[in-house]
């Protein structure tokens, strides 16, 4: 597949509008659930929309279609971003997002493959989803299937040793059908402090993440994770690279789209007040209290 095919197929303006709507759903869902995470979903959402609307070979009305491309949200705490994307893509209704985090809901705090249509692997304990993704890719290879497996990890998640255990094995088996996207938003939950305890440092700086994945034998690309053209083009390059696993280090902004949440570690998992929600909706170009759908 060439860059050309992927980039020209989906309408960029349409995708960008979907991303905007998705951000509104995300912020509203967290506010109404009184729980969940915000910073990580907002940094990841452009890439999720790009994947589900522009890249993945899937059949939303047949979530278990055996030949579908797979997506594993290894940074499972960003579940609301995945649920929003799945709902908008037709796996279940957008109204169901109102049940996020509620008791008896299919939309649990962390993705649960046993109950939620479209979730290809459970996650929530950081690092584990990625192992599952390596296994899916290895299984696909062993079964002679030619679908692609994508996994999304957090940059903080890359602290986990298990990530590098998986990276090692994926390289060992030259899993050209595996693409890891690292949401490099430069914050984790709490992390290391800087000159004061209020200042939290990024888990990795400069080229550290790129160098680490490269050292593990992965082909590495970088992209701006908020630029739809670049996202689609980079993923297309990653898919085209078939003789080994590819890591895409996506430069993103934690809390992207809502000024007071951006680059602020305190919005990792805070619930917005009514006033904060109203400001967020305004900044996201949405009339307060209306429906984004």
């Amino acid at each position: 597949m060439t860059d050309q095919m992927i980039v020209t197929q989906p309408d960029i303006t349409e995708l960008e509008e979907l991303v905007r709507q998705a951000r509104v759903h995300i912020v509203r869902s967290i506010a109404s659930a009184h729980g969940g995470h915000l910073g990580g979903p907002l940094s990841a959402i452009d890439m999720l929309v790009a994947l589900y609307f522009g890249v993945l070979q899937i059949k939303p009305d047949q979530p278990d279609w055996p030949d579908r491309d797979r997506f594993v949200l290894s940074k499972g705490h960003s579940s609301i971003a995945l649920y929003t994307t799945l709902a908008m893509r037709g796996y279940f209704s957008v109204e169901e997002l109102d049940t996020f985090d509620a008791i008896n809901s299919r939309l649990q705090g962390h993705p649960d493959m046993a109950i939620t249509p479209g979730v290809d692997m459970s996650s929530g304990s950081l690092g584990l989803g990625f192992s599952g993704a390596v296994g899916i890719a290895l299984g696909a290879r062993a079964a002679g299937k030619d679908f692609t497996t994508f996994a999304m990890l957090g940059d903080g998640e890359c602290n986990e040793g298990i990530v590098w255990e998986g990276a090692h094995v994926a390289e060992r088996y030259r899993l050209g059908n595996l693409v890891a996207i690292v949401d490099h938003n430069k914050l984790q939950q709490f992390g290391w402090h800087g000159e004061s305890v209020e200042v939290r440092l990024p888990p990795y700086t400069g080229n550290q993440l790129v160098d680490r994945w490269t050292a593990f034998g992965w082909k590495v690309f970088e992209m701006d994770g908020h630029d739809m053209n670049e996202i689609l083009a980079t993923i297309a390059k990653a898919k085209a690279h078939s003789n080994g696993p590819v890591a895409i280090v996506a430069h993103t902004v934690k809390g992207k789209g809502v000024s007071f949440m951006e680059n602020n570690y305190k919005w990792h998992a805070r619930v917005p007040t009514e006033e904060e929600l109203a400001i967020a909706e305004r900044e996201l170009g949405e009339p307060t209290g209306g429906g984004a759908s």
């Binding site: 008896n104 809901s105 040793g161 984790q188």
Partner: protein, 314 residues
């Protein structure tokens, strides 16, 4: 009489370990990128030079704690119970429990109420796992008062300890006259109709359930067992001998927790019927605290109803 509101155990923990460190230079804190949740951010702000951020890497964190203990430090390791116990179990077993090193493992957000996170984070088999491990002391305090005392006691104790901590604000059960003693149970309330052993924050719910039952003429004897290992066997055997049948209650699966410990002890030493109240053999889910407590059957009202049914059946 309902109990006065109190702080969350995690807050009492953050504050107490910070205070104790003022006078005890051996105390260090290791965090698994959750300090803002487990409240060791309080410690970091006060003692930044003795706070070590280990990142999101729990197996390594428990191993590092073991190493620091061999140099004379008293490491308090802080993460959620699920990641301490489930993720880092081999580090705990081989590097902490087997060499009997002086590491204090704190399992935050233990039990059913972990802020809507759901089944990955809801760890209510932690006591079962840690209790089965040789050399491990297992402590589960009821309220902020007892948490403060327990942290002092486990700091004075030389050896590995698992301290169970919880997320939500918890009513105050004990006044300052309370004395937490490692390995000792405490009589919280006397009564002739039924004897309940409970542990952790569940004791506050059983206490309030006992008030509801008293209004119906059922008097509960409530024995709080904050140290699950080593178990206060004498207190349990004595109470069982007096009562002839006992009930246990905990915010933990009925497999392997306090209920199992009591049943094991009594079947060896003084067999009487034991009814275990707690969480069923299942995983948890997301949801608001009060709804989870109701659905999983350990709310104050559900506890009162369960005890009432047991009493009436006798």
């Amino acid at each position: 009489m309902t109990l006065a509101p109190g702080k969350a155990l995690r807050v009492a923990f953050g504050e107490t370990v910070t205070e104790l460190a003022n006078d005890d230079p051996r105390i260090v804190v290791l965090d698994g990128d959750l300090g803002s949740s487990t409240r060791v951010d309080i410690f970091e702000a006060a003692h930044p030079e003795r706070f070590f951020q280990m990142g999101i890497a729990e197996q390594n964190m428990l191993g590092v704690a073991a190493g620091m203990a061999t140099v004379g430090f008293v490491p308090f390791v802080s993460t959620f119970a699920c990641f301490a116990v489930a993720r880092a179990l081999d580090s705990i077993r081989v590097l902490i429990a087997q060499p009997r090193l002086n590491v204090k493992i704190t399992g935050g957000y233990a039990g059913l109420l972990a802020g809507m996170t759901g089944k990955t984070h809801l760890m209510f088999d932690d006591v079962a796992v840690m209790r089965a491990m040789a050399n491990m002391v297992v402590v589960s305090p009821a309220d902020e008062v007892e948490t403060r005392q327990a942290i002092k006691a486990i700091t004075d104790y030389e050896g590995p300890v698992y301290l169970r901590l919880t997320r939500p604000e918890t009513p105050i059960l004990f006044d300052d006259a309370h004395r937490f003693e490692l390995g000792k149970a405490t009589l919280v309330r006397d009564g002739d109709d039924v004897t309940v052993f409970s542990t952790g924050v569940q004791t506050t719910r059983v206490f309030e359930a006992a008030q509801l039952l008293a209004a119906k003429g059922i008097e509960t004897k409530l024995v709080h067992v904050p140290t699950i290992k080593p178990l206060d066997e004498e207190a349990i055997v004595d109470a069982a001998r007096e009562a002839g049948f006992v009930v246990t209650a905990e915010e933990h699966t009925i497999i392997g927790g306090l209920g199992s410990a009591v049943a094991e002890t009594l079947s060896d030493r003084y067999p009487v019927p034991v009814k275990r109240l707690g969480l069923a053999d299942t995983f948890g889910e997301s949801g608001p605290n009060h709804e989870l407590l109701e659905k999983y059957g350990i709310s104050i009202e559900k506890t009162a109803a369960s005890i009432e049914t047991l009493v009436r059946a006798r």
